[in-house]
């Protein structure tokens, strides 16, 4: 099958949806002739022109807020934030406006708004360019949160996000932009809210998402050589979470590790652990172990960053711990 880079898959999804629907409009900074800081809008300005691919000033509160007003009035804005780190500046418009308007107004308007933003560390980019804020936004009702782990999923899920009549945060991992993977030529979409089993297994469930999927799969290979059969479940959508898929896998394996890149407290991993505690505790044959970043801002120096962010070896160790197995 044809191979595309993750950022090319995103660009292709944007182009297809723009062709499909006149009202799909992109804005953000440096997304026009520059093509986006991560080349996710490369060629789109040339194809669709300055009224469909609009460069904005460095004014996050303004241009994300405009997305709310435009979405409420018939446009389907797809907004790019250059890094997700400064979604903080726009968060009022996401949390108090976009997420609440439909509900608060009794369903009288729609909010077909997509905000795309790169997340993640492992780049020595320092404390203000390495964040992953999915847990913060998943906490808020009224926002869907998607974090694709492959080019195939990036394309299929972004197309669904654009067609969705709700606010969707689409977090792309910086380390994945250069990942190559199979993407069919023919049109497809992937459902929001459906997890995917990336590796079936019988001994332990590793629930994970985004860049940690690759690390989890690598850990699973290492463990397979030691006779441990891991199931790697990629959430793909953080909110709404595919609870059934998590529970079904845990009921099958009886063991749970949750692996995420960001901080532990009150996070996605907390939610997964709580879900299993509430709904499937009788199926567990060992403790739940979470693999996460350590609870400090992501430091710059590579030795420090490596210490703070989770590694493949941490996942291996966590699996050994839930199985009460001596590490080899």
């Amino acid at each position: 099958m044809r191979q595309l880079f993750y950022n090319q898959a995103i660009a292709e999804a944007l182009a297809e949806e723009m062709r499909r629907d006149q009202n799909v409009i992109l804005w953000g900074i440096d997304i026009g002739p520059y093509g986006g800081a991560n080349a996710c809008t490369k060629g789109l300005y040339e194809q669709f022109g300055p009224s469909r691919v609009i460069d904005m000033p460095v004014s996050e509160l303004g241009y994300v807020g405009m997305g709310v007003g435009a979405a409420a009035t018939g446009i389907r804005p797809v907004i790019e934030l250059q890094f997700s780190d400064w979604i903080t500046l726009a968060s009022e418009m996401i949390i108090n406006q976009a997420a609440k308007m439909r509900y608060m107004f009794g369903g009288v308007l729609q909010m077909p708004l997509v905000i795309r933003a790169p997340v993640g560390g492992y780049l020595s980019a320092g404390a203000q360019h390495s964040n992953s804020f999915e847990s913060m936004f998943s906490f808020v009702p009224g926002i869907k949160v998607i974090m694709p782990s492959t080019p195939y999923e990036a394309k299929g899920l972004l197309k669904s996000a654009i067609r969705d009549n709700n606010t969707v945060l689409f977090f792309e991992h910086k380390k994945l932009y250069a990942m190559k993977g199979e993407v069919p030529e023919e049109e497809y979409t992937l459902p929001i809210g459906k997890a995917d089993i990336k590796r079936p297994g019988s001994d332990v469930t590793i629930v994970t998402y985004a860049y940690m999927v690759g690390k989890s799969l690598a850990a699973a290979e290492t463990l397979a050589r030691q006779g441990v059969d891991c199931e790697v479940l990629d959430l793909r959508t953080i909110d709404p979470m595919d609870r059934e898929a998590v529970l079904a896998s845990v009921k099958k394996t009886g063991h749970l590790v949750v692996a995420q890149e960001t901080w532990r407290d009150c996070s996605v991993s907390s939610e997964v652990a709580a879900l299993v505690a509430e709904e499937a505790v009788d199926y567990l044959d060992g403790p739940v172990v979470r693999v996460t970043a350590k609870d400090v801002p992501i430091p710059f120096s590579p030795v420090l960053e490596e210490y703070v962010l989770p590694k493949e070896a941490d996942i291996v160790a966590a699996v050994n711990k839930v199985l009460n197995r001596v590490s080899v």
Binding site: G32, V58, L89, V296, S301
Partner: protein, 319 residues
Amino acid sequence: MDIPRETLLLIYERMLKIRHFEDRVKDLFAAGELPGFVHLYLGEEAVAVGVCAAMKDSDYITSTHRGHGHIIAKGGDMGCMMAELYGKATGYNKGKGGSMHIAYPELGILGANGIVSAGIPIATGAGMSAMLRKSGQVVACFFGDGASNEGTFHESLNIAGAFNLPVVYVCENNLYAVGTRQSQVRKIEDIADRAVSYGMPGVVVDGNDAVAVYEAAFEAVDRARSGEGPTLIECKTYRWRTHFEGEPDTYRPPEELAAWIKREPIAPYRKLLIEQGVMSEAEAQAIEKKVVAELDAGVEYARSSPLPTPESAMADLWA
């Protein structure tokens, strides 16, 4: 304006320091010695130096992602900076910060910043603090033309104007924010015009003319220190390099870059000081030699310094 000789010489030395430091960072980064990414200040030296030369060591500055120049201009040590860029334990911030996050409160450096415009309210708060403590300190707030389109800029300047805060807002207008030419996303030509809305003077200066910058800053600092309130100074300048090292230069007309390089700030200033008898050719050369030796020593210090211990990542979060 009568500028003291030692100030004139200091301006020369610090501009040279920035020039050499940034040139070296460019090479070290290209050689793969420095992790992360770096934004260079080459071409804009006169702005930071002109402003900081009008300030005291005890005064404050806030800086940006393009911060090396501000830190050197405020008296920062090139060795401690370089060690931070290398991620070493001996860096200004123990390797936790990196190029975009150098702070050194002893010299009033309240931090470079990875978030565009975040320094503006912080500077305003430091100004409020200086006023409340009656410390007589002044704050210089550096930010770009791009940053002036953030809400933080407008909110902060309004507050500073209303409370007569001792802050000098220094907009480094280099025409671009990353790859977007700012005239495409801003209707007005001069950002200094915005000062009117906030009840403060707005001044446009040639940011490549260190004397002009110094004179504008001197007046603004004086105004701030004597309780008359803030000033917005817009310095017209240009960055020679791309937004960050490694970015392809696809969006700037080569003639534009060439014209700005021709108008570079240091050579004419050097000529001026020699013509006016402030320094001799030999003195100028000696200053440059000293700067390069100090930089060489700084790089050596950075290279030979130890890395932080991994566990030190967990220190410094809490008081």
